[in-house]
């Protein structure tokens, strides 16, 4: 293949630029790698999710109820739009794990042994399905089995309707219903304290007085069926049986979390790379514009020789595209590698039968396309200039730059400034636009560093708020059924309990116009000491004697404000429906919650001193004894410990964030090196003639280095405050983008993060300075002065 002479020029130009080109390629590759990493992980998860749902017949609608006779099931099956229905008995119990003093809970799900569940089937990882005639055989969820080191052949104790029963594990299972398993009422999954058990439905029903009935139903829809219609009909059908409100798949806990995570992956995968690629485009723009101005006489000559504007435009665009392509390839390779790593991390977090990493062609294509887009964008300005260059004029050498006395000198400080310092100031002042560009570039890279790391600060504050400011209890106890005030006294008298406060939580659907959410309304004492209601800015809130206090996010979802009225349909007991005013709104970081003063809630429910649980403060010395006792109390359905919640938060959610943050950090450091190195190289190429002349005049290497590096220092010093501010603003934008029903991240950037960002840039500047200094030392005086620029 013959390389055309113009392309040879291209390759040689590229070779001369190799340092800068490589730095820019790295920045592009960082953007592309993030794009590929996040989006391929997204696709892998999505694909796995869809196949899993399909193969294991994951339901479309889920409904919990108190108890319904089997004929209700037939009527549900007859509802228009319903394809298949399945009824089960599902109960939550306290587990007794031998080596765990702290109580764990289990969810027992009845299955029609030996038949496979018609919907929400299980995948058996190891062992076998329970056999007929062995009512104690169970399947255990993989997450719990791994966390507790349980194997087929082991057994585990469960408090079933007040009696301890030994369940023997015959298999380890997974289900599309519990890809993400979280204890009801909690926000953080804890595999070691929440296990799912599939067991003989008959026996389970008998133990809980459900023979001939069920308390959980799920169904699939016929194609084209209207989900809201089916849900509305199902709710009407189940209301007499204590229906808790049917949920569409989109609100099913496991699916909802998974979808939230996927949505987050997708949006991060789109937003962050765009920011990176914009920075890359900016760098390309600076470098290419510089090249075009250096080569103006060459461009003029080429035009004079008959090269068309389009050929020249393409010439410089190609230069940019080559750099982009290098970044694209590098980024794709890295992105695929990191994507498979990230997918593996998700495998610990979500439970899938198999989660294979899958890099779809369209993601690769997208990555390459965005790298080319960045390259083209970066080339735009330079190409326009090259095309617009009037050939006759460009043949003439550029007029000498116009210098002025710098601001400081004009302020009368000239006397105190040494000649090199004066030169530095004049150089910066001579091309304020160019200096501003360099400052902007470095500032942008600082802001990237902050953007990449401030989540650590944010999570820290969120953790602190959630686990120390709001939850001051050590233990939360949930009762099987609402109990009387006597049980609170009983709990208070348990060993190690220092303080106790009642909780009356009730499931309810809050409705305002077309909007609704099913939540657990928490009745708390007006001014709780333990589980408090705390606004992120206003501090602890006193619950008013009537009306609901909603978390800001829930108020937004329902589109209601203070003073407005919501319809509260209680989904338990006598199921009253009331119009309740919104008495207050609190801003919280996690979840969506609704609070009510416990007395007001009890009146609304028409109950006396009922409670559904209690918050306890515990003397650590006696904690073990307490836990042991709690496991044995029949009316206790679940116990959750704050300490374990914090730990599991650290282990799971924080861990995935740390991985992301690590990559963000890596990439933003790459960016800042790219930017600073480029800035240094460009001023070197602009000044080398001048500096060589100075060397000829007898200036030492040190002196001319001072001039060049001083300029770099001025740029960096100006850029740092701007970059820190910019980083804070970007962080605010990202926090706003991450506002979901699951989390609202607080906008916090600690001094440590600012210091970190500034340090990385200073290191980048020092290393770039060293590299430039080495080039200055090797400056070939004759060659520099011979070439006309």
């Amino acid at each position: 293949m013959v390389i055309r002479p113009l392309d040879r020029k291209l390759l040689r130009d590229l070779w001369t630029l190799k340092g800068q080109a490589f730095a820019i390629s790295l920045v592009i590759s960082a953007g592309v790698a993030m794009f590929i990493m996040y989006l391929s992980t997204f696709h892998s998860l999505r694909l796995t999710q869809e196949t899993y749902y399909e193969r294991y017949r994951f339901g479309h609608v889920f409904a919990a109820l108190t108890r319904a006779p089997m004929n209700v099931l037939e009527r549900a099956a007859d509802l228009p739009g319903v394809a298949r229905v399945e009824a089960r008995v599902v109960v939550d119990v306290t587990l007794d794990v031998p080596d765990l003093t702290e109580p764990a809970s289990g969810r027992l799900i009845g299955i029609d042994v030996p038949a496979r569940p018609m919907l929400n089937d299980v995948f058996i990882r190891r062992g076998r399905f329970p056999a007929l005639g062995h009512p104690d055989e169970v399947l255990v969820s993989e997450g719990f089995a791994l966390a507790r080191d349980l194997h087929p052949g082991d057994s585990i104790g469960a408090m079933i309707n007040g009696r301890r029963r030994e369940l023997s594990i015959v298999g380890i299972a997974l289900s599309p219903e519990y890809i993400y398993s979280i204890r009801p009422g909690e926000l953080i999954p804890d595999d070691s304290r929440f296990g799912i058990f599939w067991m003989h439905g008959r026996g389970l029903a008998a133990a809980f007085n459900m023979e001939g009935g069920f308390n959980h139903l799920s169904l699939t829809l016929l194609p084209g069926a209207s989900e809201p219609d089916v849900i509305a009909r199902l709710d009407r059908l189940l209301a007499p049986s204590g229906g808790l409100g049917a949920l569409p798949r989109s609100l099913q806990t496991s699916h909802w979390y998974l979808d939230n995570e996927l949505a987050q992956l997708q949006s991060v995968g789109l937003v962050l790379p765009i920011v990176f690629l914009l920075v890359a485009a900016f760098l390309l723009n600076v470098v290419l514009t510089r090249i075009v101005s250096v080569q103006r006489e060459q461009i003029a000559a080429l035009k004079a020789l008959g090269y068309t504007n389009r050929e020249l435009a393409w010439h410089y665009t190609k230069l940019s595209l080559l750099i982009g392509a290098a970044g694209g390839v590098l980024g794709t390779v890295f992105g695929a590698w990191m994507g498979s790593g990230m997918t593996a991390i998700y495998n610990d977090f979500f439970r899938f039968p198999i989660l294979t990493y899958n890099l779809p062609a369209n993601v690769v294509f997208g990555g390459v396309a965005v790298s080319f887009a960045a390259a083209t964008l970066g080339a735009l300005n330079a190409v326009r200039r090259a095309a617009a260059l009037p050939p006759a004029e460009a043949m003439r050498p550029e007029p000498p730059a116009r210098y002025r006395h710098s601001l400081l000198e004009r302020a009368g400080l000239a006397h105190y400034l040494s000649p090199p310092v004066r030169m530095i100031l004049r150089n910066v002042g001579r091309q304020p636009a160019r200096a501003a560009t360099a400052v902007a570039g470095v500032a942008a890279s600082i802001s990237m560093l902050i953007l990449g790391t401030f989540f650590l600060d944010s999570i820290g504050v969120l953790l602190d708020q959630q686990f120390f400011v709001i939850q001051r209890q050590d233990v939360t106890v949930n009762f099987v059924l609402p109990a009387s005030a006597r049980s609170l006294h009983e709990v208070r008298r348990l060993p190690g309990v220092i303080g106790a406060e009642p909780l009356r939580a009730v499931p309810a659907r809050l409705r305002s116009a077309q909007r609704s959410r099913i939540v657990s309304v928490q009745g708390l004492v007006a001014e709780p000491e333990l589980n408090r209601v705390v606004d992120v800015t206003g501090g602890a809130v006193r619950l008013p004697p009537g009306g609901l206090v909603l978390s800001l996010k829930l108020a937004e979802v329902l589109a209601v404000g203070v003073g407005e009225v919501v319809t509260m349909e209680v989904l338990d007991g006598r199921r009253p429906v009331r119009e309740v005013p919104v008495a207050g709104i609190v801003e919280e970081y996690m979840g969506t919650s609704a609070y009510m003063e416990i007395g007001a809630l009890r009146r609304l429910l028409g109950e006396g001193d009922s409670l559904s649980g209690a918050f306890l403060r515990v003397d650590p010395a006696e904690a073990d004894v307490l836990y042991q006792r709690l496991k044995g109390i029949p009316f206790v359905a679940g116990v959750s410990l704050k300490r374990s919640a914090v730990e599991s938060f650290q282990r799971t959610i924080a861990e995935t964030f740390y991985v992301m943050i690590f990559f963000n950090l890596l990439f933003s450091s790459v960016i800042s090196f790219g930017v600073v190195y480029n800035a240094a190289r460009i001023s070197l190429s602009e000044r080398s003639r001048e500096l060589a002349s100075l060397r000829v005049l007898g200036f030492t290497r040190g002196e001319i280095s001072l001039i060049l590096l001083g300029e770099l220092a001025v740029v960096v010093v100006l850029a740092i405050p701007i970059g820190l501010l910019l980083g804070y603003i970007f962080a605010g934008a990202l926090v706003a983008a991450f506002n979901t029903e699951l989390y609202r991240f607080p906008l916090v950037v600690t001094p440590r993060t600012y210091a970190y960002a500034a340090t990385v840039v200073l290191i980048a500047a020092s290393l770039s300075g060293l590299a430039v200094r080495r080039r200055l030392d090797r400056l070939d005086l004759v060659a520099v002065l011979k070439t006309r620029e």
């Binding site: 055309r4 002479p5 113009l6 040879r8 020029k9 040689r12 130009d13 001369t16 006489e297 060459q298 003029a300 000559a301 080429l302 035009k303 004079a304 020789l305 008959g306 090269y307 068309t308 504007n309 009037p390 050939p391 006759a392 004029e393 043949m395 050498p397 060659a783 011979k786 070439t787 006309r788």
Partner: protein
């Protein structure tokens, strides 16, 4: 306001016809009148030398003839094609097909070797010489793979000439091709130009500060302050070697 003597009885047809060319450069407040009404005809195979003091408008005129620039007023036609009303694209095609340029400052591409600099032109035209052939013509066959920075000024100038003639242009426009050269090298360069003019019949215009060079021209035009001060024809045409410097 000397009206230039047109050549109604010119032996050969007119290649360029320039009429009342003016060129004004505006730099902010200041206006520079580079050309103040120049009319000139150039004929087939003619060898023209342009003389004149610095700043008299020589380069400006040459650039307009070469389609690099357009006049502020007046017209230029090339073989009947109006260059002044042509658009950017048409001018580019005109330069590409018909014009060979040798610039005052060589304007070689520093990242390309001598051969590649010539190939740059032969790559985009029909029926060019081979680059080696063109470099042979200027006695640079032994410097094919040298970069401009490895060549002397004269050698660079000769590469520029090879680059201009390699496309077998219809017109060859040279702006001070010997400006930076010593006598011996200057002669070599002029010989190359002369040879192209004679052997290929290329219409040639050469700007120079060296009045001696005018001895080898068919016709000598002197510019002064943007006007044609004199336009004369040589009765005897010297070869470059015979010039008295």
């Amino acid at each position: 306001m000397s009206s230039p003597p047109s050549a109604p009885s010119a032996p050969k047809p007119s290649v360029f016809a320039a009429r009342d060319l003016t060129k004004v450069y505006r730099m902010g407040e200041v206006e520079v009148q580079a050309l103040r009404g120049v009319s000139l005809d150039l004929h087939e195979s003619e060898f023209l030398v342009l003389l004149g003091p610095s700043g008299s408008g020589k380069s400006t005129l040459l650039n307009i003839l070469g389609g690099l620039d357009v006049p502020t007023a007046g017209t230029v036609t090339y073989r009947g094609q109006n260059l002044t009303s042509a658009d950017e694209r048409a001018l580019t095609m005109y330069r590409r097909r018909h014009v060979g340029f040798v610039f005052q400052f060589y304007n070689l591409i520093p990242s390309l070797t001598a051969r590649e600099n010539v190939a740059l032109v032969t790559d985009i035209v029909e029926r060019p010489m081979r680059p080696e052939e063109a470099l042979e013509l200027v006695n640079l066959a032994h410097r094919l793979d040298h970069f401009p920075s490895q060549l002397s000024g004269g050698e660079q100038q000769r590469v520029a000439i090879a680059r201009a003639v390699a496309k077998r242009p219809d017109v060859l426009l040279c702006d001070e091709p010997t400006g930076a050269l010593d006598i011996a090298t200057g002669v070599l360069v002029l010989q190359a130009i002369d040879q192209v003019n004679r052997e290929l019949g290329t219409t040639t215009a050469v700007i120079t500060h060296n009045a001696a060079v005018s001895g080898m021209a068919d016709r000598v035009v002197t510019l002064s302050d943007g006007r044609i001060a004199s336009d004369r024809r040589n009765s005897v045409k010297l070869s470059p070697a015979e010039l008295q410097w």
